[in-house]
Amino acid sequence: MSMLSVRDLGVAFGAVQPLSGVSFDVGKGETLGIVGESGSGKSLTAMSVMGLLPLSGGRITGGTVEFDGQDLTKLPERAYRKLRGGRIGLITQNPMTSLDPLKKIGPQVDDVAKLHLGLDATKARARTEEILGTLRIPEPALICDRYPHQMSGGMKQRIVIAMALAADPDVLIADEPTTALDVTVQAQIIRLLDDLVKERDLALVLITHDMSVVAQTCDKVVVMYAGRAVEHGPVEEIFDRPRHPYTQALIACIPRGLDEATRLTGIEGTVPTVVNYPDGCPFHPRCPRAEAICATDPPDFSVHGDSAAACHFAEVAHAEPA
């Protein structure tokens, strides 16, 4: 059963529409990867789900965000607040700046349990220490008394995760949780998230720009480009039989050290920005197999088993990889 189900989501800031037509489902014990290059709208998707768009002046222009059967786009702010941090947790990209530098760690984490579980100060602290413990943070009591700047990036990211977990959420949204971290630390955090999904039966939305991370952790993938989902499906389908030329190109961009055969060439051209999103298929200016129709008609998703790709040539594409 899917915990979170996004349908045809669109977002606008004033007149610009940086996001449209994003759909995905994620169920308990499942990890969904959202992958895409910078500016493809990954964070916007996360913000929409969290109901935090108004903070930066954006609004949802269409589609639904269903959580546990209720449409969040119509939820009043007060009720949303209960959900946020309570049943839906968020982990942000940069652990360095995600904690209030003026407050000690303990209270920052305590807040969540106090707010959503109605615990008093001592119980909340006990809970905090317990969670820090489960995240393999040594000496939680000591850590609670520290300030953010006294800790390493990996440790801070764990604190942020602890905050997201404190109220035992059903859904966890992790927006590039490891991008700013070193590889060894990244591996630890990913492992931690993996364990959590299994232990707690979480629904995890893992946003990343790194296909390798997706390959290692996700059950399902949504590939985004220029504010749209271009392909989605089970992770193995996507890697084995990518149907969208963008997905194919993305996979081809990963350096594979031991596999000298493939030479890296990248994708010609540059990622479009919100102000110059192309008509038709957003990828067509860079697409090796683009034809006239691509420049005019936005492609619909064509479904292939569990996966679907928004490409006019999805069938052909798979037959002979670019």
């Binding site: 969290m50 903070l55 941090g85 940069n94 995600s98 003026l102």
Partner: protein, 309 residues
């Protein structure tokens, strides 16, 4: 922790105070004119002059003079005013309370009202209110103080007769001067608060606070305000010296006594010891302000506490 920090900051003030004291000591030698001339009886002889010079120790080597002077300062011995002919300490003691009262009230007024206005303008997103507030802030930070004072006198004292035109008697005489200084101060504090709050709102962690499900008001008061306070405290701390010394215009217009007026008067009369004492007091206030600001910042911000200790 914070005590240790304070102590360290205090120690660090020693070299600064030393250089300030040298500068202040030297300023007096840059002033043209000679207090001895003011003191000398008309038609007196060179010997009379030499005697006076010796009496005030002006004949000694500059360095010796400096050390004698600074030594005396340390013992709270400010010397005798040359023109006003009384202990400088008395003069300072007589004027300081006026400066402190006026400065203190203006400070209080501008910080409380300024922060309130700044906060309101940062969080209430009403275009008309926003415009009004920005207009007020602009006016407050650009209108010359003495002109504002004149207008206030014209309106409240001359036309309405509510407050005295000048002088330093009773609370009523404080209202207009406090308003005059406060107007600029309020605008400044409001602007800094506003900008700081808007900046703080953009910080990454704020989003996470919202994501925790905290109410906006909680976020404002528990998390944003402390951040906004940091620059406000800095600017207010700097302001201490400004208010004490910068009030001279207001003191002048309202005919109020105070350190500023005393300094101006002493400058005019070339009364070295008084000039030195006033400058030293102001420098002290400035340093104290910075110190208070630093300590207040450190007590609010653990990062500063650590970096500097």
């Amino acid at each position: 922790m914070i005590l240790r920090y304070t102590f360290q900051r205090l120690l660090m003030l020693i070299p600064v105070s030393f250089s300030i004291s040298v500068v202040i000591f030297m300023i007096v030698y840059l002033l043209p004119g000679d207090p001895i001339d003011n003191l000398l009886r008309v038609g007196s002889s060179e010997e009379d002059r030499a005697e006076l010079v010796a009496r005030y120790g002006l004949d000694r080597n500059l360095i010796v003079q400096y050390f004698v002077w600074i030594g005396n300062m340390f013992q709270g011995e400010f010397g005798q005013a040359i023109v006003l002919r009384r202990p400088v300490a008395d003069l300072v003691a007589q004027n300081l309370p006026y400066s402190l009262t006026l400065g203190g009230l203006a400070f209080l007024f501008s910080s409380t009202v300024g922060m309130a206005l700044g906060t309101i303008s940062a969080i209430v997103r009403h275009p008309v209110l926003d415009r009004l507030m920005r207009g007020f802030i602009l006016l407050g930070s650009t209108v010359p103080g003495f002109w504002l004072a004149l207008l206030l006198i014209l309106f409240f004292s001359v036309n309405l007769g509510w407050f005295p035109v000048s002088g330093a008697g009773g609370w009523k005489s404080l209202v207009l001067p406090v308003l005059t200084i406060g107007f600029g101060g309020v605008a400044l504090v409001a602007r800094v608060t506003r900008v700081a709050l808007l900046d703080a709102q953009r910080e990454d962690f704020v989003m996470l606070l919202h994501a925790k499900g905290l109410a906006s008001s909680t976020i404002l008061f528990r998390h944003l305000m402390p951040h906004a306070l940091l620059p406000v405290v800095t600017i207010l701390a700097l302001r201490i010296g400004w208010i004490l010394g910068g009030a001279v215009t207001v003191e002048f217009v309202f005919g109020r006594p105070g350190l500023g007026s005393l300094l101006i008067r002493a400058l005019g009369q070339r009364d070295y010891p008084v000039v030195q004492a006033c400058l030293l007091m102001l420098a002290l206030a400035v340093m104290l302000g910075t110190l208070i600001g630093d300590v207040a910042q450190a007590s609010m911000d653990p990062r500063i506490r650590e970096k500097k200790s």
